[in-house]
């Protein structure tokens, strides 16, 4: 089996996810080639052939141009599978490439057993094994599900691809995240609230516990989307990735995107009424309780220490 691994590049930098693609390829026992719309000044530590298109010509977001670049490599290398990260770049390009190749696309693979890919279903409460019926396939792999322990240090054989990178949409620039001066990444303790906090008034309860523990408060996505908490406090894939000494997840079910942002915390406590919530898998301690009763009392006891 031969894979094409699609590496990513953003704002002038290679992204680390190409390491995960290499591990995926190893686990599949496949040979591989890689492609990247990026720069020869920032190359992955990949020992193999790397097809490189210049991001200055192709643009960093240009689906039509990037699709054509990938299809040309697929044609030249006759690969069996095209692998993307399940990221804002990968899930945007994969369906377009699959459509052009008349190939099945399997999204967000978490593992592969006997060549059968498994993907999450219903917020990872269930899992689904997928049978691909086409000869070629396109896959996206879940962030964090694969990954080499250390970044490999190979040197790719670079094949430059010239092209005009024409496309129908125009990328006009990036908007950086606003930090508001807060850096959750530096907090020793983070107490986060999720949908289970119920109403905006309860954010204060979360903030009070964070303060009592000498830390900062954070939130999961639904709470930020509801505008109960500012985006600079969001923990997860589209917010911040944190590794505090203590992470307390209050009323957070544990969507994959949230877990990716906090699972490397040193000690994790979850407070939840549902003992089957996916957060329980990541937690060192699961307190099965109504957080509206538990948190204020726990805060008082911490303050009294």
């Amino acid at each position: 089996m031969k894979l094409l691994l699609v590496a990513e590049y953003r704002d002038g930098k290679l992204l680390a996810c190409c390491n995960e693609l290499m591990d995926f390829s190893d686990k599949m026992g496949a040979e591989s080639v890689m492609c990247l719309v990026g720069s020869e000044n920032d190359l992955p530590g990949y020992s193999g052939t790397l097809y490189l298109a210049d991001a200055k010509i192709y643009g960093e977001y240009n689906p039509d141009g990037h699709k054509q670049f990938i299809l040309d490599v697929v044609e030249k290398e006759q690969v069996d599978m095209v692998a993307f990260s399940h990221s804002s770049y990968g899930w945007d390009l994969a369906p377009r490439v699959a459509f052009a190749l008349k190939a099945a696309q399997v999204s967000e693979i978490v593992e592969v057993v006997d060549e059968i890919p498994a993907v999450p279903l219903c917020n990872a409460k269930l899992r689904r094994d997928v049978l691909v019926k086409t000869k070629q396939s396109v896959v996206t792999i879940q962030a964090g599900a694969f990954g080499l322990p250390e970044d490999p240090v190979g040197t790719p054989v670079v094949e430059k691809v010239e092209g005009n990178g024409e496309g129908r949409v125009e990328f006009t620039g990036y908007e950086q995240a606003e930090s508001g001066g807060l850096d959750l990444g530096k907090a020793q303790v983070i107490v986060s609230g999720g949908r289970g906090i119920g109403k905006p008034e309860n954010v204060e309860m979360i903030a009070n516990l964070a303060k009592a523990l000498g830390g900062e408060y954070g939130a999961s996505r639904p709470v930020v989307d509801s505008e109960w908490v500012e985006h600079n406090r969001q923990v997860g894939t589209t917010g911040q990735t944190v590794t505090p000494k203590l992470y307390v997840a209050c009323g957070i079910s544990g969507a994959i995107q949230h877990l990716a942002g906090m699972k490397k915390s040193e000690f994790i406590v979850a407070v939840n009424t549902d003992r089957d919530a996916p957060i329980a898998e990541a937690a060192d301690v699961l307190v099965v309780a109504d957080l509206k009763e538990f948190i204020p009392l726990f805060t008082e006891k911490i303050q009294a220490l």
Binding site: S87, S88, Y89, W91, D92, A94, P95, R96, A98, F99, K102, A104, V106, S107, P120, L121, C122, R127, R128, D129, V130, L131, V132, K133, T140, R168, V169, E170, F171, Y174, E175, E178, L213, P222, E227, H231, Q234, T238, G239, K245, L246, S253, F267, I268, R275, D276, A280, E281, D284, V285, L286, V287, D290, E293, F294, L297, F298, K301, I302, L305
Partner: protein, 257 residues
């Protein structure tokens, strides 16, 4: 302007799921159903666009059994003008390519200027259907938008990237966009609009009339993943729980010293 918004009915994700007797889907009885959360943002954005341009016709489309009509009525009450129900009692076994093919077959001769979808469904989460519709209809598609504006045939959006960064993108209509959570503030339908929605057109089309493509994948089985975590589970009265947790934090962490 003609606008299409595609929605899906999904179970509430807090539900207790069971594997059905075939072992290829979840048991559909005893679940609470609602509009896929991503699609709520898509409907809201489509309605806001209609309100902005005034002269617009907004169709909401949904594939599924008769029960999805309830969810479609919510979209109609939010401000969609008409509903197209693609009647399919077996929609869960259709893969994204088939679903996009069905929608594209319906949309092909309707000259929609804008197609809105959610960026993924909460149950299957494949993040494919919206972009595949764009490919079928040979129009540009932009995924994962968290900001949308329209002026004179030009759409400006912001795509949400990892780490809170956004990419600003413009494109001309016709265009498909897939909507990320937090794109806008989703309205609650008012009672008068709920009443009005009951009188809006809701056309049913049998899926057989629109399914012209073959599936490229199928579900072999679904199952509960093995639990890896063996964390400690504390249960009991809240005072006792608080004391226990303090004891554990003192022992296992340095944050209380």
């Amino acid at each position: 302007m003609k606008i299409l918004v595609c929605i899906k009915q999904v179970p509430d994700m807090e539900s207790k799921f069971k594997v059905d007797s075939d072992g290829t889907w979840y048991e559909k009885s005893d679940l609470v159903w609602r509009m896929n959360e991503y699609d709520e943002y898509a409907v809201e954005q489509a309605v806001q666009l209609k309100e902005q341009v005034k002269d617009a016709d907004l169709t909401v489309l949904c594939i599924g059994g008769d029960q999805v009509k309830e969810t479609m009525k919510k979209a109609l009450a939010m401000g969609c003008d008409r509903g197209v129900h693609i009647a399919d009692d077996d929609s869960n076994s259709k893969e994204p390519y088939e679903k996009a093919g069905i929608i594209a077959e319906y949309a092909r001769d309707k000259s929609f200027d804008l197609v809105f979808t959610g960026m993924q469904s909460q149950d299957k989460g494949s993040a494919q259907v919206g972009l595949l519709i764009a490919e079928f209809l040979d129009m540009p598609g932009v995924s994962t938008i968290v900001d949308f504006s329209y002026s004179d045939g030009v759409v400006s959006v912001k795509r949400e990237l990892e780490g809170g960064m956004k990419a600003c993108v413009t494109a001309r209509t016709p265009l498909t966009v897939t909507c990320q959570l937090g794109l806008n503030t989703v309205r609650y339908p008012t009672l008068p609009n709920i009443m009005k929605a009951k009188r809006k057109e809701l056309l049913s089309i049998p899926v057989e009339d629109l399914l012209k493509v073959e599936s490229r994948q199928e579900t072999a089985r679904i199952y509960f993943p093995e639990k890896k975590g063996t964390g400690l589970i504390l249960e009991g009265g809240v005072a006792e729980l608080a004391d226990k947790l303090i004891g554990i934090l003192k022992e296992k962490t340095t944050v209380l010293t």
